[in-house]
Symmetry: C2
Subunit: 187 residues, 2 copies
Amino acid sequence: MKGSHEDRLDVIKSRIIEQIGNNMKIYGVSQTTGRVMATIYYHQKPMTLDELSEEMGMTKMSMSNAVRELMDLGVAEKIHVKGSRKDHYVIEQDYYQFFIDLFCTSWSKTTHAKAATRMKLSRDLEEIIQDENADPETKEEAKKILEENHKAIEFFNWINRLIQHFESHEIFKHVPIKEGNKKRDPY
Amino acid sequence: MKGSHEDRLDVIKSRIIEQIGNNMKIYGVSQTTGRVMATIYYHQKPMTLDELSEEMGMTKMSMSNAVRELMDLGVAEKIHVKGSRKDHYVIEQDYYQFFIDLFCTSWSKTTHAKAATRMKLSRDLEEIIQDENADPETKEEAKKILEENHKAIEFFNWINRLIQHFESHEIFKHVPIKEGNKKRDPY
DNA sequence: AATATCGTAAAATATATATTTTACAAATTT
DNA sequence: AAATTTGTAAAATATATATTTTACGATATT
């Protein structure tokens, strides 16, 4: 009878971990990576690749890939535990900061490069528009695209400002975390 | 000489479309769907599946899948053009509204269901905690998970409020679109 | 009513992604 | 320095996703 409760708890835990794995897919990370993240989170202590491998029944290599992805996203950190040769990994504990990290990493990754590309294309378009030999119809279309490009660049700038709005936690002033978690304030 | 400018314009156009296709991947839509979206957008007129198929060099079936995905995300709309039997598709023209549609659709899709699951699990945990036969250690862990669950539910609520913050365009008060596009106001 | 057109479901194929296996360099212990 | 352990790259395999082909019902046209 005693064991059945533990079993139920394990079921609950694995369902939560599974759910988080699915959730993470919208952030653009693979299900496995999401599960690794959740596993470390619920373990409450830093974990090694071998522990993860054991716990999840997958190869160490997969775990290595997953934690790298998490570190790239800025939500996992490699820490040294003295007495052990193995790398240990910890996960951002704050849900909101976690969200911000994921959101901002994936967004800022694109905007800069994309805006730069657009600007380059805008210069090409300008050339066509300036060229006197260019066919008027072509020029007309170039102008339209140039305008679109301008709008796109403006939009990328807005995204950047939005990222800042989140990173600076300004957003919480306008969409407050209602109750609890007061300790996040010091950020 | 005249043709070369047109060619250059085509290159620019296809690069932009390609870029948008890549961009969209972070929103969780496939590259093809992103390209379809960009193709319709830059075409400036409603497009049919056959036109898209022709333009993109892919089967009509693929186009059908893509536009359905876009409609599910709330960024494309099927319209009737009189005189034609074929369905025509249009794309949300406003970058910001487009962003909001994508963001909110993908987020709200998860939160409701996920919060419900968590609440159900919380009730299961309560049962374990209340049960006098349960092992104290197990109870302790159940309490911890229950608390985590509570935090998660609170977070989902925050996400919902965040979605509202975007859908209501409140966000623009705090992260304004600097210049131009004044016509968006009436939303 | 017969014929043609349109859109999409279902099955088949092709492509991309995830996972494991194998191999090896770098660091650590003996 | 030899042997062991750790983490990861590269290649091989397995799995999932995207795309096309085929087939067919619904609607419109003749």
